[in-house]
Symmetry: C2
Subunit: 247 residues, 2 copies
């Protein structure tokens, strides 16, 4: 059995940069010579699948990588049995998960990624999908998936686009930190607040934070901790994830 | 049959004001002499039910109104059969809806409010609950309710704490407007973006916007429209709500 290999980006577009530009070196290292990617655009509106896929194709062109929209193949679940890399893009996590459920691709992806046969790139909602559940998404629940259970390629939760509380705000809605602390009131599962420009790379038992910014990790009964790019976070892979256990 | 009577607040705490202070006159008018309220604190963590209820009790004391926490009675569904006013408070909408489902109070509230026997006050997540679905909440899906269907006391959706896009932001996450437009890609249902400090008052076939700020109304195939406090919005009660119809 080979090691699984995941690249989990907070976001694909960073301010003042081209699509995926901030992570280009990490993508080259991750692909390790692979030249074909299936792209899952399902977090976008149906009408945007083609244009979204074209954006990703353009971003990977300089790397000499061919990107195929999973929505353009007749049987996505079948295509994923032979794929070498899957990229799940951002958008709305609820729409993404509902579509993945309808296409019945959750199991094949989970099994092949875990066996190290299929490499997984996620960005934003696609990164949420790699977690056990979509419960730490920022997205609006615009549609109702059959279940919140997602790929579960890692045993903890990620909050992509993590934002620090705004300074001097008069808005009374919850800050991102407040929302994650609410999650911890209901679930005993660590949450990585992954700021824009950063990513996690998992290879087997090794997990590493990289990118442009620090990440903030939240755990029950613990003060949130900051971790700088380059930090080894493999310990996160060894912690239990207990959902629906109220404080 | 009496007219139903709803007061749907965007928020209960406005910057630099006491709890519910911004809506005090509206509350007095709404209660119309009623002196007892049941308060549903279920959007908060279990450990905060008592303190949350105490805050509401304090806010209603000047109005000479007695507030009872629904969590302090043995059988909430039974208590609601005789209640004259229900106040559903803010917090996390997913936690709120899941608890209301577990307590099996959705039907009794829906029926008695519709018959005009029970007046309904919502704030934030409590206002979300008055809609057909929680699909336009801002909250994190920290727990999974059995269904997204909520009280359905009105035929359209509300987005409480509506926020205009921040100026000069470099953040790449979705703005509130973007999220609501995503909702409209999947559902043909009007959405009222209810800014903090504002509320809707429904009496039978009449709906009115009031409070401190304008509201922004989103409909499919239509530019978003601004409505000032004092606007009659009864036309919103006559539009169809079609969920799960993709653009």
């Amino acid at each position: 059995m080979m090691e699984d290999n995941l690249l989990l980006l907070s976001n694909s577009k960073t301010h003042n940069m081209e699509f995926l530009e901030h992570a280009r070196e990490a993508l080259i290292d991750f692909l390790d010579g692979r030249r074909t990617i299936y792209f899952a655009p399902y977090a976008a509106a149906t009408s945007a699948y083609d244009s979204y896929t074209a954006t990703i194709q353009t971003a990977f062109k300089p790397l000499d990588v061919t990107v195929t929209g999973l929505h353009t193949v007749d049987q996505p679940a079948l295509a994923l049995r032979d794929a070498e890399v899957l990229f799940v893009g951002g958008g709305n996590s609820f729409r993404l998960l509902k579509t993945l459920q309808q296409l019945d691709v959750l199991n094949v992806v989970r099994e092949r990624v875990t066996r190290g046969e299929l490499r997984y790139i996620g960005s934003s909602a696609g990164t949420n999908m790699s977690c056990p559940s979509l419960r730490t998404t920022n997205d609006m629940p615009i549609v109702q998936p059959a279940s919140f259970a997602s790929f579960g390629l890692i045993p903890f939760q990620i909050n992509p686009h993590y934002q620090d509380p705004p300074i001097n705000s008069t808005h009374m809605g919850e800050t991102r930190e407040k929302r994650i602390l609410e999650f911890l009131e209901e679930n005993d599962v660590p949450v990585v607040g992954l700021r824009e420009g950063s990513w996690l790379r998992k290879r087997g038992a090794h997990l590493r934070l990289d990118g442009l910014t620090a990440a903030r990790i939240f755990r029950r009964h613990t003060e949130p901790q900051e971790y700088q790019p380059g930090s080894a976070l493999s310990w996160l892979l060894t912690l239990p994830a207990i959902f629906d256990q109220r404080l």
